[in-house]
């Protein structure tokens, strides 16, 4: 079922919101670039905290792809999130994000009609929660999600 359009501010930017059309069990996918991989103290590769922060723009949240919209559009989610540029990705469920006090919203763009946004506090505790909630969706080989 298509999602209703999100609320906008006077400049046309999507306001932070929690979209009721995104179900608790719906997948929320966060793309992870090779640029966001660092080495920990043991020399093992893991995802940098930068990948689990808000983007810093106006009404800033963390960009995601909404899995249910991708499936409804008849596309393969793993192919969708590795196009037009291959990146890794991790997956959350919307309900668990909400339980961690994040908002899960809808923020479509012409380039990505399945684009969503996760809003909330992105302090250290919340970043650790995000890592613990995430599982690889498109794995970057040899890279851990959680620090040792």
């Amino acid at each position: 079922m298509p999602l209703t359009l999100p609320p906008l501010d006077p400049n046309g930017q999507v306001l932070p919101h929690d979209h009721e059309g995104i179900g608790s069990d719906d997948g929320v996918i966060r793309r992870i670039s090779e640029q966001q991989i660092v080495q920990d103290k043991s020399g093992n590769r893991r995802i940098s905290s930068m990948a689990f922060k808000a983007s810093g723009g106006d009404n800033s949240g963390m960009s995601v792809d909404l899995e249910s919209l991708i499936v409804e559009a008849g596309k393969d989610p793993r192919l969708y999130v590795t196009t037009p540029r291959w990146t890794g990705s991790v997956r959350f469920t919307a309900g668990k994000l909400r339980a961690a006090k994040f908002l899960v919203g809808y923020d479509p763009s012409p380039e990505n009609p399945c684009h969503g946004e996760v809003w909330g506090a992105f302090g250290r505790l919340q970043q650790r929660q995000l890592r613990n909630l995430a599982t690889w969706f498109v794995e970057i080989p040899g890279v851990a999600i959680v620090a040792e």
Binding site: R31, S33, Q35, Q36, V38, Q39, D40, K41, S48, S49, M50, K53, S55, G56, G57, S60, S63, V81, P84, R85, T87, S89, S109, E111, N112, H115, G123, R124, L125, R128
Partner: protein
């Protein structure tokens, strides 16, 4: 009305300089010199790579690191990071920002440059616990210099002992 004061008065200045006026490099916002410590090249190479990231590098709307943010990050490193030490890792943000990171046995330190004079610095050690301590900084980075010094201290001690 608030009054500004230089930190050293003219009499003290005279006592300090006397007849021993040293030649300093000319003051300029364009001081350029060849890198003299090992991590300089690695940092500039990485930053130049991040300045050239194409739009959408993160799979979304991510843009290249902004030039003024890269330059600001370099100025911070010049100030807080001594000549020899582990090469910092640098991670781009989605809106032109960047983060400088060290992950060592003694500490994890992350310096997130959101823009010139807009920095969030974080450190975790055995004493702070894994959620660490975070500070917001503008132009004074004394606390980061101290964190880095403390992070490097055991390495220096081990090096001295070995010698």
């Amino acid at each position: 009305m608030e009054v500004w004061r230089p930190s050293v008065g003219i009499e003290r200045l005279r006592a300090l300089t006397g007849a021993n006026v040293a030649s300093h490099s000319a003051f300029s916002s364009c001081v350029v010199s060849a890198p003299v410590v090992p991590w300089h090249k690695a940092v500039t190479d990485r930053l130049e790579q991040l300045l050239k990231l194409s739009k959408g590098w993160d799979g979304y709307d991510g843009v290249a690191v902004r030039f003024e943010n890269a330059t600001f990050a370099i100025k911070v490193l010049e100030l807080v990071f001594p000549g020899h030490g582990p090469i910092p890792q640098i991670v781009p943000g989605a809106t032109g920002d960047l983060q400088i990171e060290w992950h060592m046995d003694q500490a994890d330190i992350e310096i997130h440059v959101l823009g010139p004079y807009r920095v969030q610095a974080w450190r975790a050690t055995a004493a702070t616990g894994r959620d660490g301590e975070e500070v917001r900084l503008t132009n004074d980075f004394a606390i980061v210099a101290r964190w880095i010094n403390e992070m490097l201290e055991p390495r220096r001690a081990a090096h001295t002992t070995a010698a």
